[in-house]
Amino acid sequence: MSFAPADLMNYALMGAFAITALSQIMAVIRLWIGPSTADRILALDTMVINAIGLIVLLGIYQGTQIYFEATLIIAMLGFVSTIAYARFVLRGDIIE
């Protein structure tokens, strides 16, 4: 069996899409069942990471770099909301 490189690329891409989407759905399930708030916050954080993956994959799929700034921003700043949630749960006050 032999693949053309483009085919391989396509299969890999499709596989990556499916896996990321699946992990996204699983994160939602975790978020749904909890049970603790920390689980839910971590689930949301996972979803943010997965979103980076999805957008990057989409960029590769469409062959454009225009979405990369969006992923850059998520990667750079997405953790801030996770920290904010965590601080809220732990200390109530997020700016002390």
């Binding site: 759905i25 749904w32 979103a51 999805l54 801030v80 920290i83 809220f88 732990l90």
Partner: protein, 952 residues
């Protein structure tokens, strides 16, 4: 001096007293005096032209499509009134300097006074009737400020409100009348309107126009039945009463009647309405004045009465009547302003204005006594004082006037009014100055400094001068009368003289004076009878009317607007659905022109996540933190959706806004319970759910139909696509729209953003300075606190990432014009970089390292954006016209420089300032008393204990 300058001087000058406030009271009053004096001198330079009968005109177009142009004219009438306003203004400023106490804010007072003065001068010099109305409303507003100047007095506030309500409603009627008048004449320029007497009086719209205009005039000049506001406006400081309520503002209505006299007068309608209203006002005011104990109240009703007299004279529609009216305006302004100032002196020195507590002041305040007595005798109509001359002319005119086909009605009522007028003047003199000296004055009365008695004394000199030598005023009054009459009538030939022979007017005058003395003699029983008579109280009626109007408005709006958001949302949704349904059933829907696109697995997964999160929201929305997490999913999926549908700008904005929103909400949640309680009954929730489902389905149907069809008209985005690079110099259309095509909108938006942030700051600041402060400071956490306040890992990480965030922000800002990005996103990115420091190292540590206050950053942003816009004026282009060019600085490649980028800097700064100010304000609320500010950015000091100390 140019007329523009005369009108503009008081307005521009009104900035100065406020600025000079700290330079002392003399400087403050002095600068106000100089401004008024300059305007007066400027006015006087036009005197030769006016005396020669010319009309000085000047103007520029303002809104020509609406017929509203800044055109000014100066004729005899305008000159006369402008002279009164500025001349008496000078005296009032001098008087006010000494009247106001040290506790009063003099800068504020003179600022209001100059604003009022400018508005008044604007009225009398306007050629355009719409411009006149603009100034008219400005006098209402500035007089509101002046009447309510003593904000701590409830009477002052109530009086100001009443005056504003009455004159404001009159102003509204006047606008209607002026529009009709301008419509008939085909122009809003008075000089054109005044030429169209026949056309206007023949028009079927003449009567409505007349009634509306007279409503405006009568409310402003306190004519029956709108006279009641004037006495209540007497709660103002006396300089205001003397200026506004005797000499200037209340004459604005009369001025307008005189101004429009050539076109409106002479018809039976005019005659009946104006003469009757004037006559009733004159008699009613005089009778009430007699029984008032408060000096200023007495003078207020006497002003009402004299305004009625002038109105009646204008109403007769004869040239002689108009001339008598003009003469009486001059005389009344002189003696009444002098009397008000005298009343103010008495109030100032004796600490009471109640006539019953006064008496015998003749010996204690001889100067005031002479001034007040001469002015009051003039008002009573005693020969050799100017009041006598115009009153004689009034009686002469009354004697010839036949109202309701009775030749006796007007003369009898005029004599009756004059009788009471004489009586209250005698009472004013007798009960205040004569009689025994008392020993129970609230303060020891004595004559005031010359600054206070000088201005009224000067006026009394004029009173006597005109009274003795009426020929001095005659040419001037005749010039004024000529401009009132226009082409409608000839100026009467009568000479102003003291002795006319034994004419009926003389006998009427004698009856009035003698009758007045008799009334004084039997004053006590009269007062007892008056007190025993039940009378309607104007203030009670007014308040009842206002209360019922408010109740009606509430009954109408409350069912729709009760403050509950669910109700607004329900009403809004139902209305929109109903209208859309109507459009759907009555309109036509074209066939679909586009095919439904296939959905891939990823899209469906994203959609499913969005739906799940939304449904989760519905179920879990009472758990606040959980619903916030679910909102996070929605935001994330929407951002990814923007990417999928090729809108990277929106995705970036959405992502950053999401972070900031969550931080803001978490800050707020800290003060709120964890759960939302159930408040509404089950049925109501079922109803709301029904509305929500129908609304959602309707939105879906609309979106689905819309997306399957092309737009009916070519959409605006085609213009943007075609012109974004050509006209705006950028390939990123979204950014070019924001900073260029729609730059003005963006400018408005950043201002709104800044205002919102400042408002948040103001509200939290008010909380922190109020009684809530102690509760906030001593608040204990509702759950045990875990972990470190400022974990080391987070501090180090945020420090390291900070330059990176700044760099990305800078990069996104710069590339914004051509690639996704721009000032707005960059502002959000940079703000998040700052917020990280707050979260990691704490509020105290971060704010102590803050060099510029966020208010200033907002202001700088708005300013930069505004100046960029103004910059285009220097190239004779409209506001915010953008330009761009390409430059090449070796060794770089060619790059673009656009003014839009400068504008974007403004957007950037405003966004950073607004986001940071609101977050900072919220987090300030959370500061607690028992938590010490840490010395170090981290809870553990990572520097080694044996490290060399700084001072070693």
């Amino acid at each position: 001096m140019s007329l523009f300058l005369i009108v503009a001087l008081p307005f521009v000058g009104s900035l100065l007293p406020g600025l000079m406030n700290s330079a002392g009271r003399n400087a403050c009053a002095g600068v106000t005096f100089m401004i008024t004096l300059t305007a007066l001198v400027g006015l006087l330079t036009n005197l030769p032209a006016v005396l020669a009968g010319e009309v000085v005109q000047t103007g520029v177009t303002w809104l020509p499509d609406l017929g509203l142009n800044v055109t000014l004219m100066l004729d005899g009438l305008g000159f006369f009134f402008a002279c009164l306003i500025l001349g008496i203004g000078l005296l009032i400023i001098t008087y006010g300097r000494f009247y106001l106490s040290r506790k009063d804010n003099m800068g504020e007072f003179f600022t209001y006074l100059l604003l009022f003065q400018g508005a008044m001068v604007g009225i009398v010099l306007s050629d355009n009737i719409l411009l006149l109305i603009v100034f008219w409303e400005l006098t209402s507003l500035s007089s509101f400020l002046l009447i309510g100047y003593w904000k701590h007095l409830p009477e002052g506030r109530q009086g100001a409100r009443m005056a504003l309500t009455v004159t404001g409603m009159g102003g509204l009627a006047l606008i209607g009348g002026a529009l009709i008048l301008g419509n008939i004449a085909g122009s809003y320029d008075l000089s054109v309107i005044l030429q169209n007497r026949e056309a206007i009086q023949a028009s079927p719209m003449y009567l409505p126009a007349l009634i509306l205009i007279l409503l405006g005039c009568f409310t402003k000049s306190a004519q029956f039945p709108f006279h009641f506001w004037l006495p209540h406006a007497m709660a103002a400081p006396t300089p205001v009463s003397a200026y506004l309520h005797s000499a200037t503002m209340v004459k604005a209505g009369i001025f307008l009647m005189a101004r429009l006299w050539p076109v409106l007068s002479g018809t039976p309608e005019w005659f009946v309405i104006v003469t009757t209203a004037g006559l009733i006002t004159m008699v009613l005011g005089a009778v009430i004045a007699l029984f008032k104990h408060d000096l200023k109240s007495l003078l207020a009703f006497s002003t009402v009465s004299h305004l009625g007299l002038i109105t009646m004279l204008l109403g007769t529609g004869t040239a002689f009547g108009a001339m008598a009216a003009m003469f009486h305006i001059l005389n009344h302004a002189t003696f009444k302003a002098a009397l008000f100032m005298s009343a103010g002196i008495i109030d100032h020195e004796a600490h009471t204005r109640d006539i019953r507590r006064l008496g015998g002041l003749r010996k204690l305040m001889p100067v005031t006594f002479v001034i007040a007595t001469l002015a009051a005798l003039s008002m009573a109509g005693i020969p050799f004082l100017n009041g006598f001359l115009s009153k004689e002319m009034m009686l002469e005119e009354a004697e010839r006037t036949v109202l309701f086909s009775s030749p006796y009605l007007v003369p009898a009522l005029a004599t009756f009014g004059s009788l009471f007028s004489a009586a209250y003047c005698f009472r004013l003199i007798g009960h205040t100055f004569f009689g025994p000296v008392r020993d129970d004055y609230p303060a020891t009365p004595h004559d005031p400094p010359v600054g206070m008695w000088g201005p009224p004394a000067l006026l009394v000199v004029i009173v006597v001068a005109i009274g003795v030598a009426p020929f001095l005023a005659e040419p001037f009054i005749k010039t004024v009368t000529a401009s009132v009459l226009g082409d409608a009538a000839e100026v009467p030939k009568n000479y102003f003289k003291i002795w006319h022979g034994f004419v009926p007017a003389l006998f009427m005058s004698i009856i009035a004076v003698v009758g007045g003395l008799i009334v004084m003699a039997i004053y006590k029983p009269l007062q007892a009878a008056w007190d025993a008579t039940p009378r309607p109280e104007a203030k009670t009626i007014f308040e009842a009317v206002i209360a019922s109007a408010v109740a009606l408005a509430k009954a109408l709006t409350h069912p729709l607007h009760n403050g509950a958001f669910t109700r607004y949302a329900a009403i809004f949704a139902i209305t929109v659905i109903a209208i859309s349904y109507h459009a759907w059933t009555t309109g036509t829907v074209g066939a679909p022109t586009r095919a439904v696109q296939p959905a891939g697995v990823v899209e469906i997964a994203g959609w499913a996540l969005l739906v799940t999160a939304t449904l989760g929201m519905v179920v879990l929305h009472r758990h606040r933190l959980l619903s916030l997490i679910l909102i996070g999913i929605v935001g994330l999926m929407v951002s990814v959706g923007f990417v999928v549908f090729s809108a990277p700008d929106l995705a970036m904005t959405q992502l950053t806004v999401e972070v900031v929103t969550i931080i803001l909400l978490l800050l707020a949640l800290n003060f709120l319970p964890n759960r939302t309680p159930v408040e509404s009954p089950v049925l109501m929730r079922m109803r709301d759910a029904g509305i929500a489902i129908v609304g959602g389905l309707a939105t879906f149907a609309l979106a689905f139909h819309y997306m399957l069809r092309d737009t009916v008209a070519p959409s605006i985005s085609e213009f943007h696509i075609a012109n974004s690079y050509k006209g705006g110099g950028g390939t990123n259309m979204v950014n070019v729209i924001l900073v260029d095509f729609r730059g003005f909108d963006t400018y408005g938006e950043i201002i709104v953003l800044g205002i919102a942030a400042l408002l948040i700051f103001a509200l939290t600041e008010a909380l922190l300075n109020g009684p809530v402060r102690a509760r906030l400071l001593n608040r204990l956490p509702d759950q045990p606190r875990a972990g470190d306040m400022h974990p080391m890992m987070m501090v180090v990480m945020t420090r390291v990432i900070m330059p990176l965030v700044m760099l990305v922000g800078f990069y996104i800002f710069l590339r914004g014009h051509n690639e996704p990005g721009g000032g707005f996103i960059a502002g959000l990115v940079v703000s998040i970089g700052f917020v990280m420091q707050y979260m990691a190292s704490g509020f105290a540590w971060t704010s102590s390292r803050l060099r510029y206050p966020y208010h200033g950053v907002i202001g700088a942003g708005v300013l930069v954006a505004g100046l960029t816009g103004i910059g285009s004026w220097f190239f004779a282009k409209p506001f915010l016209t953008s330009d761009f060019t390409y430059v090449r600085i070796p060794p770089f490649n060619e790059f673009e420089l656009a003014t839009a980028a400068l504008f974007d800097v403004g957007v950037f700064l405003a966004v950073v300032g607004a986001v940071m100010l609101s977050l900072e304000s919220f987090s300030r609320l959370a500061r607690r008393a028992h938590v010490e500010d840490p010395e170090h950015p981290m809870d553990i000091n990572p520097s080694r204990d044996d490290a060399p100390k700084a001072e070693a």
